[in-house]
């Protein structure tokens, strides 16, 4: 019984995966607002292949810097944007190079269409 059900779920998942793969592969853009010296949302989860766009809404420049050297923006003046596409799964803590008490985290998990 269990095996059958697992198989059935597996089949459905496979169908969904195929359906997703058949359509144009569309990675999502997610925005992180920099506002009042905070990253908002402070932690987000995206799928592999997604792009995160940071937009600075403050009257003070900020710079987005990965704790693990995965990415580093230039100083973002008011309304400047920085985007990074996350190809590799993992957890990416980051901070503002100018105001290091500002921190955030991007979690990248597998997308259904990404190879196993």
């Amino acid at each position: 019984m269990m095996t059958l059900r697992t198989l059935a779920i597996g089949a459905i998942n496979l169908l969904v995966a195929v359906a997703t793969a058949v359509g144009p592969v569309r990675a999502a853009d997610t925005e992180v607002k920099i506002d009042n010296f905070t990253f908002n949302p402070q932690q987000i989860t995206v799928k592999a292949g997604d792009t995160v766009i940071w937009v600075n809404h403050d009257d003070i420049p900020h710079a987005v810097v990965s704790q693990t050297q995965a990415f580093r923006s230039k100083a973002l003046d008011t309304d400047d944007k920085f985007s990074f596409t996350f190809a590799t799964l993992g957890t990416y803590p980051y901070f503002c190079a100018l105001h290091p008490h500002m921190t955030g985290t991007i979690v990248v998990e597998a997308s259904l269409s990404s190879p196993p």
Binding site: D59, I60, P61, T78, A97, L98, H99, P100, H101
Partner: protein, 309 residues
């Protein structure tokens, strides 16, 4: 100097006068501040000896609503310095010369500040080290300095130490001096008489003003421990764009106003961002500081002068 040996320096009471715009004179005896009431500028001027000026947070390039003309207010500040009846010995600049570390911003600062015709001793703010290799700051101000730009010098028997607490900042932390600089400080102070007045200047406050906004230096405790044996230590900072003072034993901490834009009092706003105030109030919140030592008295006077009182 034998002051240290015969205990004279210890007996001497460290007094600190601050004339903060409103004209209140504070005297600190044994760490307890006493207000002596209103004074006029004449009393503050009476002090003779070494007088130097502190300017801070010029933010050349800043053009946001809190002050669309940061260049103009820096020019005003320099104009006031030029008009001083007694020429100060030199100036210190406690960082954030520029807003975005651009060549043109450094050029503007240089052009305006040099008009004061005073030697200027700089330390960088985080806004001056934005280019990855911090080349622009170091090319202009780094000569004769260590690491990202720290150094010391002597003037009229006072030992000055310019520190950098805005380089290689770590995520989740505040300002930081780092191991190398801390070792250099220990070395720099070694063998100096405890009666030598010490003036330390750096961008971010060396005491924890407000950790929620990163207003502090996480490893400053070690630097200050090396200064414990000195009778008179004065720590001058910028970064928070407002006057704030604290006295702890022999150490006086003081922050200067910005010439560019004010920032809110700790915790009084959602963030530390530039504070927009009515046009006629702006110049009462911008300004410079003047610091005077009376030789032999280990007394210092800090006068904060707004652009408009």
């Amino acid at each position: 100097m034998t002051d240290h040996d015969n205990g004279v320096s210890r007996r001497r009471v460290l007094e600190c006068m601050t004339w903060v715009g409103t004209g209140v004179l504070w005297t600190i005896s044994g760490g307890v501040p006493h207000s002596l009431g209103l004074i006029d500028q004449a009393i503050a001027k009476e002090a003779s000896g070494l007088t130097f000026l502190q300017i801070s947070d010029s933010h050349m390039g800043f053009d946001k609503p809190a002050n669309p003309n940061a260049k103009g207010t820096l020019e005003e500040a320099i104009g006031r310095i030029k008009a001083l009846p007694v020429k100060p010995a030199f100036m210190i600049h406690t960082g954030d010369i520029t807003h975005l570390s651009k060549d043109s911003e450094f050029d503007d600062a240089e052009k305006i500040i040099s008009d004061a015709r005073l030697d200027v001793h700089y330390v960088p703010g985080e806004h001056d080290l934005i280019d990855p290799e911090i080349k622009l700051y170091k090319e202009r101000y780094g000569r004769g300095t260590q690491g990202p730009g720290y150094y010391s010098f002597d003037a009229d028997g006072v030992h000055f130490i310019g520190l950098v607490n805005v380089a290689n900042l770590k995520g989740g932390g505040m300002g930081s001096l780092g191991e190398e600089q801390l070792e250099w400080i220990e070395d720099d102070l070694k063998g100096r008489s405890a009666s030598t007045p010490i003036v330390v200047f750096a961008h971010i406050p060396l005491w924890t003003v407000y950790p929620e906004w990163g207003w502090g230096t996480e490893d400053s405790g070690r630097a200050l421990a090396y200064m414990k044996r000195f009778g008179s230590v004065t720590v001058l900072n910028g970064h928070i764009h407002q006057v704030m003072q604290k006295v702890e034993g022999n150490v006086t901490f003081h922050t200067a106003r910005s010439t560019a834009f004010p920032q809110p009092a700790p915790g009084s706003a959602p963030s530390a961002g530039p504070m927009k105030v009515p046009e006629d109030k702006l110049r009462t919140l911008l300004g410079t500081a003047s610091i005077t030592f009376k030789p032999g008295e280990q007394r210092l006077a800090i006068v904060d002068t707004p652009l408009k009182s």
